[in-house]
Symmetry: C2
Subunit: 140 residues, 2 copies
DNA sequence: CTTGACTCCGTACCTTAGTACGGCAGTAAG
DNA sequence: CTTACTGCCGTACTAAGGTACGGAGTCAAG
């Protein structure tokens, strides 16, 4: 018999990524994940690609993208027309670069704070707020 | 007459940052913002510091922090005991660095995608998903 | 052939982060 | 004085992103 146990069911997929089974179903409903083939008796089975996809979704969320934006990003992945892709990518690239700057400032500031601490002051004054606005948040 | 017009009311604060008045009130309820002094007749007035604070909140949200995490970050700002601050900061610093890596990968990938496009392929194949998982995919 | 661990499905519920609503009060202009 | 802004307050509603629940089917092991 073929190793039925190796089949990637929804439960295993969820476990592999570290999310709830319901979350997988939810992503399917939201079309962030294709409906997988269900060869025998209606039990879905997934591929390694699906694992990667869900991991991508989770990573993208951590850096501040909404499911909606992630949906767009994922479409870039599946060979779309170049001009459309370029437009989307340009837009997201700018977005990503803004976030990078904010994150770098945050990094530097936290690192400085730690450094101050280790030099032995008992209290620290942390210009954390200044960190993210040095650049600007010009209201439109 | 004193320049009453220069008073930073809730409406002006909201406008300065580009958020809704209700959002400011909401942040106050959530203790992300102190209750400001209300000298005459109960009308709150805010300082430039409050503007900075709200801007910080918004910037931190864009890079993926929840209001809860932001609450912690803000507490770092107001001179706390060094050991406590150091622990918090260390934790957030790691977090920030992970996000930075993901964002950098995302940046490189999007930039490559654009580059491919400009070189004239009609369709593009974008290893976008690979981008965010390079760090840790030990999927069995 | 029963039992336990999954799976399937739809629906309901929960948390986070706001937004909107309606009633009341103070001030300023017409 | 009346009308028009704001501001104050509490409560209710919304949207996004899940989570939980209950009933039914499936499958491998005991």
């Amino acid at each position: 018999m073929k190793p039925r146990a190796a089949l990637l069911t929804i439960g295993r997929l969820a476990e592999a990524v570290g999310v709830n089974v319901e979350t997988i179903r939810f992503y399917q409903r939201k079309r962030l994940l294709r409906e997988p083939p269900r060869p025998l008796g209606g039990i879905r089975h997934y591929s390694a690609e699906d694992v990667a996809r869900v991991k991508f979704i989770k990573a993208a969320q951590r850096i501040g993208f909404s499911l909606n934006e992630i949906h767009h990003l994922l479409r870039l992945n599946e060979g779309m027309q170049c001009d459309a892709a370029a437009e989307l990518a340009t837009h997201h690239l700018q977005d990503v670069r803004t976030r990078l700057q904010d994150l770098r400032r945050m990094e530097v500031t936290l690192a400085n704070l730690l450094d101050q601490c280790h030099r032995g002051g008992k209290k620290v004054a942390c210009p954390l707020i200044a960190a993210l606005q040095t650049n600007k948040v010009e209201a439109s």
